[in-house]
Amino acid sequence: MLKLNNISLLYDEDKEEKTYALRNINLNIEYGKFYGILGPSGSGKSSLLYIASTLKKPSTGTVTYDGKDLTQLEDEEISEVRLNEFGFIFQKHFLIPYMNILENVLVPLNSNKIEDVEKAKELLNSLGLGSKLKKKSYELSGGQCQRVAIARALINNPKVIFADEATASLDHKNAGEVMEILNRLKGDTTVLFVTHDKSMTKDSDEVIEIWDGAIRGSSI
């Protein structure tokens, strides 16, 4: 469903001496699978995620999604794909501080229709936040905020979830809970989970190891 063909990313394209953040990456992401993208800091794993999710454009190569070359689309069209097809969880929760958590979850839908609000409530309930709907992000713990971020990523029924170090700022217990929630999505949603912590990839369908901008190995 999501294919990365011969992807390279240069740090400074204008400089004579080329420094590659990513080099000749080829990946075929299948529907419903959980992918762990593992690598040390600076290895290029986040860059890979950003390119796969269209947040960044590659220097060379193509990203195709359901047969459509995303690298050829205009900004408005790519934005539409991200808004409708993808879900994002970052290391920082990026909850909007002046909105309560229910409103935050509704942000990707940009809707306050009753059915959407009910859906957001259900999601938050399922993540154990049903009693905190009116709370603001600064009233919650880091783990709770990250769970809200997950609910927000799921509200538009994304086909692919991109998670960039989603557990990196959490303690072990909270990180485990987040992983458990993400693992539950397997089968229905494709998850690309970037981490530097190998233990977080133990339940992945496939682990893609990145080293120095290149895929070092892939294991199932």
Binding site: S46, L55, S79, R82, N84, F90, N110, S111, N112
Partner: protein, 372 residues
């Protein structure tokens, strides 16, 4: 494409916009207050100076003429088209009752026989009391009566030049009147104390009379009084208007700096928020639109609240200070709405362009990477 316009809370930061609205409203309120002072001054200039000066023109220079020469000149002036009468008079400018600026309310002393002529010339209405009979009596307009009774002579008029006078309370108010002009009328029996010849003219013929006088006075040895009088009248309103424009412009510039600075801080502080929204798929256009709506709400609220606050301040100022001291204060003018509206429109346009530029140039991917 999912609906993108039915979630009113996105990018509408109530907590952040409230302080901006308050500051904007306060400044718009001050503009309304300043405008009111300006309009009051101009109104008073119109009423005291312009209207009056189109009825009376003091023309005789200070230098003494012989009785024959004076009568000859009087006769000559009487025949200018538009001149309704020529009387012996003294003519002084009293400083206005307005607190901020001396506008030159006229005090005219004439002999008793000419009183009726003056009375008709300025369209005195609702006369109560009697016409003044001697130099320590004055007839006063009803709107100045409060000022006089409030013992605020220091506001009504200190000596500012040899031709100004101080309206102290040792004058006896013989009567009051209402009319189109604002004068203090007094009587003087002694001709020696009436150095001027006062033309009483048809206000519609002012320009024609002025032309004839200007050409005639070229031939006279001393025309200082008429030149001074004309110069002051022509310049006063222009100068006041110019001063008002400068004051409002400087203050508006201050508003622009302060409000735009607050807006800029507000927008910059939300870099992560915008970056996140861009990352999940909101377009530049949509974010700019929502920020503009927020800006619009700030400007509209600041505008409405500001005008209301300004008006409330004016009503309080008028009731606590102006009415007790007899100061005529303008509480409403269309300018109180239109000038702040121009300021707001400018801020809105500037804000819109700035927001568009900022959102357009926002390197949101780097911002996301830096935050991660």
């Amino acid at each position: 494409m999912k609906p993108l316009n039915n979630f009113r809370n996105i990018l509408f930061n109530k907590n952040r916009i409230l302080p901006i609205i308050i500051i904007l409203a306060l400044q718009i309120g001050v503009i309304v207050f300043m405008l009111s002072i300006g309009v009051s001054l101009i109104d008073e200039l119109d009423f005291n100076l312009i209207n009056t000066s189109k009825v009376f023109i003091p023309v005789l220079p200070e230098t003494k003429l012989s009785a024959d020469e004076r009568n000859k000149l009087k006769d000559e002036l009487q025949h200018i088209d538009g001149v309704n009468g020529v009387v012996d008079a003294s003519y002084n400018n009293a400083r206005s009752k307005m607190i901020f600026f001396g506008c030159g309310t006229s005090k005219i002393s004439v002999q008793n026989k000419d009183m009726i002529l003056i009375q008709n010339a300025v369209g005195m209405k609702n006369i109560s009391g009697e016409l003044p009979n001697n130099s320590n009596e004055i007839m006063i307009s009803t709107l100045n009566l409060n000022a006089f009774n409030s013992n605020i002579e220091y506001k009504i008029g200190r000596y500012s030049s040899e031709n100004s006078f101080d309206l102290k309370q040792d004058y006896i108010v013989s009567g009051t009147f209402e009319g189109d002009s604002n004068i203090y009328l007094s009587a003087e029996e002694n001709l020696e104390k009436l150095p001027y010849l006062m033309l009483i003219i048809n206000p519609d013929k002012y320009q024609e009379v002025d032309l004839v006088l200007t050409s005639k006075y070229k031939t006279l040895e001393n025309n200082r009084s008429y030149k001074n009088y004309k110069g002051f009248k022509q310049n006063a309103k222009t100068m006041m208007s110019l001063l008002g424009v400068i004051a409002i412009s400087v203050f508006s510039f201050g508003i622009w700096i302060s409000v735009m600075n607050l807006m800029k801080n507000n927008i910059m502080a939300r870099k992560n928020e915008f970056s996140f929204l861009r990352s999940i798929g909101y377009s530049k256009k949509y974010i700019s639109k929502r920020v503009f709506i927020e800006l619009f709400v700030i400007m509209l609220s600041g505008y409405i609240v500001g005008i209301l606050m300004g008006e409330i301040a004016l009503v309080i100022f008028n009731s606590r200070y102006c009415i007790p001291t007899g100061i005529l204060f303008t509480l409403w003018d269309n300018m109180f709405v239109s000038i702040p509206a121009l300021v707001i429109l400018f801020l809105l346009l500037n804000g819109y362009l700035s927001v568009n530029r900022y959102i357009g140039k926002l390197d949101w991917v780097s911002a996301m990477e830096e935050t991660a």
